[in-house]
Amino acid sequence: MTAATLNPRLQEIVDDFAAVGDKDRLQLLLEFSEELPGLPERYAEHHGLLEPVPECQSPLFLAVELSEDGTVRLFFDAPREAPTTRGFAGILHAGLDGMPADEVLATPTEFTGQLGLQDLVSPLRLRGMAAMLGRIKRQIREKGAC
């Protein structure tokens, strides 16, 4: 039911995770962690502009921008020594950055359960990812989209 409302990019990520075994699934998460882009200067130099996500097990900060054309830009910051948290941020970045605001808002929080990571990482870590998504959506609403 929820799968139907995922945008195609995020759906592809979910499918990639579903297609491989446990070991490769962790490898895939590691790749997302490595692909997470660094902060642009305007945030790197003004870290206070980022919102902390205390639900994550390791320090994570994020920023959300709404472009004039209604698309969403996402920025994340997490230390190198927090690869799982970085991996989750990387998935959200790959799946949602540059997407129209309404599509990001329509992303069901439960999608984190479709990645097949429940038996590999602790459930509270998956909640951290859901919390990131929740905060992204809240920021979009606050910025006045939809």
């Binding site: 962790l26 205390p54 799982t84 038996d119 590999l120 509270l124």
Partner: protein
């Protein structure tokens, strides 16, 4: 074929200096035959982004637990796991990990249930190794399969079950959680909402000594004198006391178990791994709220 001990002056003060090694010692002995270094982390990907060269990964979540029952692997499961990692019964096994060695201490405690003869913890854990800019590798070592014997788990010496804790009420109990969890204000550890309980508080009679008090800022253990000031002078533990430690799921209390049993030498220390997630959810067991034992 045990490796030499780490003769660092700080460790000689401890009751069992043979149970602990420094990052220097590990760096020096990395290539010695008979040694296996294992990383045990809370973050399941940390090992993959770089570990001590040659170290194997020991995942508490997926490898040391039974996949279905809330329990650890049995003798056959443990033998299979150790053999796969290239660990034999006479291997010197050094454990280290993230978060002040919580999971490494937990893994060491589980290995102790199977009586592995030579277990050591690397003081300061992963954070210290990284902070010292020591080499890391992303290569998973290909270790030759070993032949670890099937040893039945002994749950009688250092592990306590709920019924035993009920029978222990009135004797020394150490609750190593944060003060907010101890008093009952918090139903879970800050930031760990999944591992909660329907009742907040502590086991009656338990004293609150948060685990972190045993650790210095750089994640190493405090000196023997500092530890005695905390556990003997403040918490009032006497040399022959039968002590039960607990936290929320048993990992933070493994850290304190290690301190009491191996650094201070208390002979009867048991870890109640059911901890608050079991006690705080169990029907009709007594609990105490507030900041008094």
């Amino acid at each position: 074929m045990a490796l030499p001990y780490d003769h660092a002056a700080k460790f000689q003060e401890y009751a069992h200096p043979e149970m602990i090694v420094s990052t220097e010692w590990v760096a020096e002995h990395l290539d010695d035959p008979g040694l296996v270094v294992a990383e045990s982390d809370e973050d399941v990907l940390l090992y993959e982004i770089g570990h001590i060269p040659g170290a194997v990964k020991l995942d508490w979540h997926t490898e040391l637990n039974d996949p279905a029952t809330r329990d650890y692997v049995d003798g056959a499961g443990f033998a299979r796991l150790m053999s796969e990692k290239g660990i034999s019964r006479d291997t010197t096994l050094v454990l280290y990990g993230d978060r002040n060695n919580w999971w490494a201490a937990y893994a060491l405690w589980v290995c102790s249930l199977f009586g592995h003869p030579d277990l050591r913890l690397m003081d300061g854990g992963r954070a210290k190794w990284i902070a010292e800019n020591r080499p890391v590798s992303t290569e998973t070592p290909e270790r030759k399969r070993a032949d670890y014997p099937v040893i039945e788990r002994d749950d009688t010496r250092i592990r306590a079950f709920r019924e035993e804790v009920l029978g222990h009420l009135g004797k020394p109990l150490i609750d190593v959680r944060s003060p907010g969890e101890y008093t009952g204000e918090l139903l879970h550890m800050p930031d760990y909402p999944q591992e909660g309980a329907v009742r907040g508080g502590h086991i009656p009679g338990a004293r609150n000594v948060p685990w972190a008090r045993a650790a210095a800022e750089d994640a190493t253990f405090r000196s023997r004198a500092e530890l005695e000031a905390i556990y003997r002078d403040e918490a009032g533990l006497r040399p022959d006391d039968d002590v039960v430690v607990y936290c929320r799921i048993g990992e933070r209390s493994s850290h304190t178990w290690f301190v009491l049993q191996h650094l201070l030498g208390y002979p009867h220390v048991r870890n109640y791994d059911g901890s608050w997630t079991e006690w705080g959810n169990t029907v009709r067991v007594p609990i105490t709220r507030g900041d008094k034992p």
